[in-house]
Symmetry: C2
Subunit: 221 residues, 2 copies
DNA sequence: TGATTGCATATCGCATACATTATACTGATC
DNA sequence: GATCAGTATAATGTATGCGATATGCAATCA
């Protein structure tokens, strides 16, 4: 296994992304190149390049001569992003479900068990969030749809910070591991249309929770 | 109207994008920073920043310490991209169709007439391609789904160069203005599900043509 | 007093120069 | 002749510094 040589720009990308997703940098905040450069002990070049990459991920907006800001999503936009996720993740599942092996199901089940344990133990978002992603990724793993997967990843990054906010707000409780179990069972049964419909439902209901939170915040502001 | 001040990086982005879409730079070709810098009379910094933006658009792939290459799409990937387009454009149409005004229909019809005239006159891709995009964009214009629109734009950029190749190959003839007319009529009739289904069909059939071409090219290589 | 112009400052955009990494080549060893 | 180590070369990655742009404030004028 080759050790990978990370470039400074990559490290900066990860640092800033985490700052945005964790809420350390809030939506709409300006991202000053010089300040970030000093904080991360690099020159402004890797900062600029990192910001450009994050713009591609949709987390940052760049305006010439004015600087970058963390993207701000309205309730309507969050709506759209979750609906896109529902659409595309269902598409992934549709293409993957019939190719999943017994091994895949077992691994998915293991991830789910781990997730339940972690959730019960009140572990941090870093743990539950990662397990959650890995569970979903496992279900889609046989889709062989790299572009769709990348789009889903991008949409997930965009919605993740709002999901985190929601979890914080509701006392750090992750919801719906039951839903996950039901989804997995449906996949095992091989009923593609039912499983996809359930998945869409699952994503859309998460949307509704988060949208409610956002509307409240918009009203306050 | 404020004159917009284009940054060097933006100009470079446009220059390289056009080189890729036009086939001047072919899929898989390496993009040497120094060479591009000299050719476009700028330093390597704006070149690097432009390449990063193009990576976000999916036209370029960046690998640390190895440089950038124009993205290469396998037949399977072209397949995927067109299916995504079909899915997402149908979604846009679904959300837009019932909000389209008589004015919108008239403008779409005008674009279509212009397109037919241009196609009959054998105009360049620059003309027909632009009209084609504007026609589709008009149909989606009331969707109010900015993220979906952006994804569609991105997918279009990725498929455009293959579409251009296909048109070149078949003697510069653009296909299916009839299909466009039928699509517009369906939209006018307000039959959402039929119109969306027809649109999907339209995109998928374009895919099949291009895929055939690509498979032939892969076989030759 | 209110609007407008000009200047000061913060910030960004980009050229130059140097550091680091990957790769092709050379020669030695088996 | 094949393989490997070591080096040379070319390309990328990053720091520094200067010129350009935007923005806020102060001075000026109607």
């Amino acid at each position: 296994m080759a050790i990978e040589h990370k470039t400074r720009t990559q490290l900066v990308v990860e640092a800033i992304r985490e700052k945005i997703l964790s809420g350390d940098i809030k939506a709409g905040d300006p991202l000053r190149q010089a300040a970030l450069a000093e904080e991360l002990n690099v020159s402004r070049i890797p900062i600029r390049e990192a910001l450009l990459q994050l713009e591609g991920e949709g987390l940052v907006e760049f305006e010439a001569h004015k600087g970058a800001t963390a993207t701000e999503l309205s309730a309507a936009q969050v709506d759209e992003i979750f609906e896109l996720r529902a659409l595309l993740e269902a598409e992934l599942l549709k293409h993957s479900i019939h190719k999943l092996t017994e091994q895949d199901f077992a691994e998915a089940q293991a991830l789910l068990n781990e997730l339940e344990t972690a959730a019960a133990a009140g572990d941090s978002y870093l743990t539950t969030g990662t397990l959650n992603s890995r569970f979903h990724a496992k279900l889609y793993s046989r889709a062989e749809r790299p572009h769709t997967e990348e789009l889903v990843n991008m949409l997930n990054k965009n919605s993740e910070r709002y999901a985190r906010m929601h979890i914080m707000q509701s006392g750090g409780v992750d919801r719906a591991p039951d839903g996950h179990q039901e989804l997995l069972d449906l996949c095992r049964s091989g009923n593609s249309s039912k499983a996809c419909a359930f998945l869409q439902e699952h994503i859309v209901s998460a949307k509704d929770d988060i949208k409610a939170l956002l509307l409240k915040m918009e009203a306050e502001a």
